[in-house]
């Protein structure tokens, strides 16, 4: 690990004062991604600002009837928060599908958004990677690309965004509040993460030196019809190959509003509003779900070892829509077990 200096910030002002273009500064929250990447010599900040003592630890109801999740609230405390459990169970379930209990006790909401890809070549400094060193080339496109993207890829990078939490936040249309030396901004979730294009080293639209202060959830939580399915190489403690977050608003048998977001398939949580608009007003039945899944994978392209993801995603989309439609009673969300509510 490289040598660095370390300071603790006690306030937002403290933090922003530390931001200085001459230094490679990083904020450290839970540290679970940053320290891992520093150990792999992928990140090498010269200065770390410990932001854990800033007052961003609250979960509060907002004036618009939504919920504001402080950037420094731990993932576990967010998932088990009573309002998240009752009003945004999709989010609780997605968070609990991620990492391990230990890591969820460390990981923060802000850090989760900014975690970097798990592409093996990105981690391996002996292989070329455009995300790590712009212009070096991409080892995954013609390499072992089992965990890589099938949608929104570019000739420069086919990495995925690895978060589970973010897939649910995309479906819920959360907004990200940030503050920098130029003031505060609110970024709609769909605009927070970006596609790789020819600048894959940039993961998000957060500007250097900007601090995430909170995640704002709108009032609509799809708490009666939702599902998060995560498919992976083992049942727990593994990143998603494909994941699906679904929220449905139903009236009788008809869909008033559908939300579908996919994880493990692109450089950002993947939503497709054409598909959601197609479903709106339709009967919530398998044939419509199957058409939706086909539509959502229309432009999907595999890179050999990840070809299986296309069929897997289609089936997972249909399954998640069926599960969300059929969800009868609120499930107890102590922890994620696949299709737990059907397993009595």
């Amino acid at each position: 690990m490289n040598r660095f200096t370390y300071t603790k910030a006690n306030s937002i002002d403290d933090t922003l004062r530390e931001v200085n273009a001459d230094h490679d500064i990083k904020f450290i929250a839970g540290g679970t991604n940053l320290i891992d990447l520093m150990r792999a010599n992928v990140e090498h900040p010269s200065h770390l600002v410990d932001i854990n003592h800033i007052d961003l630890h609250a979960i509060q109801e907002t004036a618009e009837g939504g919920l504001s999740l402080g950037a420094l609230v731990k993932n576990a405390d967010t998932a088990y928060h009573e309002h998240v459990q009752s009003r945004y169970p999709l989010l609780a379930k997605a968070i609990l599908a991620g990492a391990s209990p230990q890591l969820r006790n460390m990981a923060t909401n802000g850090g989760n958004l900014l975690q970097r890809t798990r592409c093996y070549y990105f981690y391996d400094t002996a292989t070329p990677c455009n995300k790590r060193v712009p212009g070096q080339g991409c080892s995954a496109i013609n390499g072992f690309n089992k965990i890589h993207s099938i949608l929104g890829t570019s000739a420069h990078c086919i990495a995925t965004h690895p978060s589970d939490m973010c897939v649910a936040l995309a479906a819920l249309e959360a907004r990200i509040k940030v503050i920098g030396n130029d003031g505060e901004r609110v970024i709609p979730f769909a605009e927070f993460h970006r596609l790789p294009g020819d600048t894959p080293h940039i993961d998000s639209t957060l500007k250097p030196g900007e601090l995430i202060t909170s995640i704002e959830l709108p009032s609509k939580g799809f708490e009666t019809h939702y599902q998060y399915i995560k498919l992976r190489d083992r049942r727990s403690y593994a990143f998603a190959l494909v994941s699906v977050a679904v929220g449905l608003e139903l009236q009788d048998d008809y869909i008033q509003e559908a939300r579908i977001a996919l994880g493990g398939v692109a450089h950002k949580p993947w939503r497709d509003e054409t598909v959601e608009n197609f479903l709106n007003g339709k009967k919530a039945a398998e044939d419509a779900f199957e058409t939706a899944a086909e539509m959502m994978m229309k432009d999907a392209k595999g890179f050999r070892y990840n070809n299986f993801k296309i069929e897997m995603a289609k089936r997972a989309i249909v399954r998640a829509l069926v599960d969300a439609r059929d969800l009868k009673t609120p499930e107890p969300l102590h922890c994620y077990t696949y299709n737990r509510h059907q397993q009595q």
Partner: protein, 181 residues
């Protein structure tokens, strides 16, 4: 310490040199004892416990958050001590495997692990036991399925999983759930 912590941004370049030589003082509260250490900021909490305090019960398996051998309790909640820096834990109550037994009296989880033969080589065991205590403190395990999922952050290369689950179940069932530590 104040000096290091409150440096002005402007002389950061100098700081880099100063801090490389200068260690940061940190007070760690481990198993009820206070220790004052002078550490490089990049010392992981795991290395501080093992190398600086000689508390070698906590193990290093992967150093990447992928195995759980380094699990300890912070304010009763479990974390991976390998993925965090010691300087971030000023004054926070830390419990390691060494802090679970009461003198010669083993902790109920330790007793149950022995009874159920819940280990072979034992390398993962301190992490498993701390994790199990953390799980009990956190209060979300209601069934065997829950235990499977909520203990998934601890790998066992010897695959003693079945007996680990039995040991934990026994502690829960016989109501000897230890007080939060």
């Amino acid at each position: 310490m104040k000096d290091i912590m409150n440096k002005e941004v402007d002389d950061r370049k100098e700081d880099a040199i100063v801090t490389e030589k200068q260690l940061l003082p940190v007070q760690l509260n481990v198993n009820g004892k206070q220790y004052i250490l002078h550490l490089e900021p990049w010392t992981s909490l795991l290395d501080a416990l093992r190398e600086h305090l000689g508390l070698t019960g906590t193990k290093k398996g992967c150093d990447h958050g992928q195995c759980g051998a380094c699990t300890i309790l912070i304010d009763g909640k479990r974390i991976n001590s390998c993925l965090t820096f010691a300087v971030m834990y000023q004054g926070v109550p830390i419990t390691t495997i060494e802090g679970l037994a009461q003198g010669d009296k083993l902790h109920p989880l330790q007793q149950a692990f022995i009874k159920h033969d819940a280990f072979q080589c034992g390398y993962c065991t301190p992490g498993q036991i701390c994790s199990a205590q953390g799980m009990l403190n956190e209060g979300h395990a209601y069934s065997r399925d829950d235990i499977h999922e909520l203990m998934s952050g601890n790998l066992c290369r010897c695959a003693a999983y079945n007996n680990i689950v039995k040991a934990i179940e026994e502690v829960i069932e016989t109501g000897q759930t230890p007080d939060a530590v």
